[in-house]
């Protein structure tokens, strides 16, 4: 709570010496600016703290870096369900969280939602290999359904708290299995069905510490890493199993 109040204080304190802040319809600061995935990483809490020029609705769009995924479809083979066709899908964000002060459909027209990429099932995604329109559409629908089911794409109209029609804080919970890369945070201020202010910020997600070293070693020197680690596993097994017996 004190951290929050400090954030509020900082934002309001930052605004005071600059009376011209009111000229800017929207000021936002995502915090933290970098998410480090370390040994005990179970996900991260991200905040967007900001100020707006007056009453209105807010939309925050959090989008992860683009991700390549393979979709597979199970088919029935006799009595068994087995893996059938697979397709690669590229170009869509790994994660798409839409936060708003009210359901987005009720504050923006579909055209405006499409313009700003605010439709969960409207982000561009390429289907490889090129399939006929209706076949590609089935895969695209499945892609969005799975992303929503797994919690990587979702809309929440309760995560933004507004104080006195001026200041706001949005709480965003990121899962543990985050795609590495740059995430964008777009904030839109909506007044009378029109976008009145629009800011874009970003933050980075990266592996750090021992996680980063292990990943780098496993990918940059795969054979040496495999050899040394397997040897280490054998030595550990030997020490733990054999030595206690020897002492008896």
């Amino acid at each position: 709570m004190t951290r929050w109040l400090r954030c509020l204080f900082l934002v309001s304190g930052w605004m005071l010496p600059f009376p011209s802040w009111a000229d800017e319809p929207l000021v936002v600061a995502p915090e933290p600016s970098q998410v480090n995935i370390t040994t005990g990483f179970t996900g991260a809490d991200l905040k967007a703290v900001g100020a707006m020029s007056g009453p209105g609705d807010l939309i925050i769009k959090l989008a992860g870096p683009q991700q390549e995924v393979t979709l597979s479809r199970e088919t029935k083979l006799g009595p068994f369900w087995v893996g059938g066709d697979t397709v690669k899908m590229e170009g869509a964000p790994s994660l798409l969280f839409l936060y708003a002060t009210a359901p987005i459909a009720s504050i923006l027209s579909p055209a405006e939602q499409e313009k700003y990429g605010l439709l969960l099932e409207g982000v561009p995604v390429r289907v490889e290999p090129q399939l006929k329109a209706h076949a590609a559409d089935d895969w695209r629908k499945a892609f969005f359904r799975l992303k929503e089911k797994q919690g990587y794409y979702h809309e929440d109209d309760r995560a933004i708290r507004v104080f006195g029609n001026r200041l706001f804080i949005a709480d965003m919970r990121l899962p543990a299995d985050l795609q590495i890369g740059t995430y964008t945070v777009e904030t839109l201020l909506v007044k009378s069905g029109k976008v009145d202010g629009h800011t874009v910020g970003n933050f980075k997600v990266r592996l750090s510490g021992i996680e980063r070293r292990v990943w780098n070693a496993a990918h940059d020197y795969p054979w040496s890493f495999g050899g040394l680690f397997t040897l280490a596993a054998m030595v550990l097994g030997f020490v733990l199993n054999a030595i206690p017996y020897r002492r008896r």
Partner: protein, 311 residues
């Protein structure tokens, strides 16, 4: 207590993985199998990608088998000549299996092949063991004359077939003479299974060595462990080299768990009669097979599935 796995790219509960390791180690100590046939499905059920589960399982078995092999070597239970031929076979099979895994991964069929191989192998071995151990428990080991006759007939058939093969070699440590092609083919089969399924193949290797190669039981366990150690170690290195799929944190936690479990299992195993131990193993194997058959037969909640290529 959560730990982020850098290669599997997910967080897992350390206690849960330790328990998996301990369960496998417990069974290994109790009935003398490597336990790879259990660890891979357990990890897959937890959400670990199949290729990471298989590869890290191989690394874990190399670790667990090293201590046990050392003990058997000190007791003179390893037939090195036999072990070496099995090993050459399993390395060839293992190398082929790793590339097969890569091709299957590219085709998106890796999960399918692993699941089917498991069901067929676990089902066959589990049911055979269950029948054999139930008969042993209820008849207190008294074999029927008909069974003995049939077994002797099949054994003599195998012997005649085996004697016609080339490269007849003596194995003095085990006191047997046979074609080197036998252990070579057995090793290659087990090597492919290790690469594709992360199993050491003990549950295939041990019965074949006892019933087909006719080695003395004490040499079977030591030689099987010796072969298991080097096969799983080679597969672990190859999986890391080709598929970048060995997660060191996952393998280390499994090794720690399995060491604890092995000691508990060995202590309990010393007190239980052999046929009851085999019955326990058979029940576990059948249970895993049934669980996998259910996942194959029951319609999936969503026919589509998504795999992330690179994190």
């Amino acid at each position: 207590m959560e730990l982020f796995l850098p290669i599997a790219h997910m967080d897992v509960n350390i206690v849960l993985i330790l328990l998996y390791g301990a369960l496998v180690g417990f069974l290994s100590g109790l009935v003398g199998v490597g336990g790879g046939f259990l660890i891979t499905p357990l990890l897959i059920f937890t959400g670990v990608p199949p290729i990471v589960a298989v590869s890290s399982g191989a690394a874990q078995m190399a670790g667990t088998a090293s201590g046990a092999s050392y003990l058997h070597w000190r007791q003179g239970n390893i037939d090195f000549k036999m072990g070496l031929i099995l090993l050459i076979g399993s390395w060839l099979g293992g190398g082929f299996g790793v590339y097969l895994a890569k091709v299957l991964l590219r085709l998106g069929q890796f999960g399918n092949v692993v699941v089917f191989l498991y069901v067929i192998l676990l089902g066959f071995i589990g049911v055979s063991m269950l029948i054999e151990s139930l008969q042993a428990v209820f008849r207190a080991g008294a074999p029927h004359a008909g069974d003995t006759h049939a077994m002797a007939a099949s054994k003599s058939l195998l012997r005649t077939w085996g004697e016609r093969l080339p490269w007849q070699t003596a194995f003095p440590a085990s006191g047997v003479r046979m074609s080197a092609a036998g252990p070579l083919v057995l090793g290659a089969t087990v090597g492919i299974l290790t690469s594709l399924m992360g199993v050491g193949g003990g549950f295939i290797m041990v019965p074949v060595m006892i019933y087909v190669l006719k080695m003395p039981t004490k040499n079977v366990v030591g030689t099987s462990l010796f072969q298991l150690l080097f096969t799983t170690a080679a597969v672990s290195v190859m999986q890391a080299g080709v598929n970048h799929s060995v997660d060191p944190f996952l393998a280390l936690i499994l090794i720690l768990g399995s060491v604890l479990g092995t000691k508990l299992g060995a202590r309990l195993g010393a007190r239980l009669p052999a046929e009851k131990l085999r019955l326990i193993l058979a029940l576990v194997v059948v249970a895993v097979a049934v669980k996998m058959v259910v996942t194959l037969v029951v319609p999936p909640s969503d026919i589509y599935d998504m795999t992330v290529e690179v994190r």
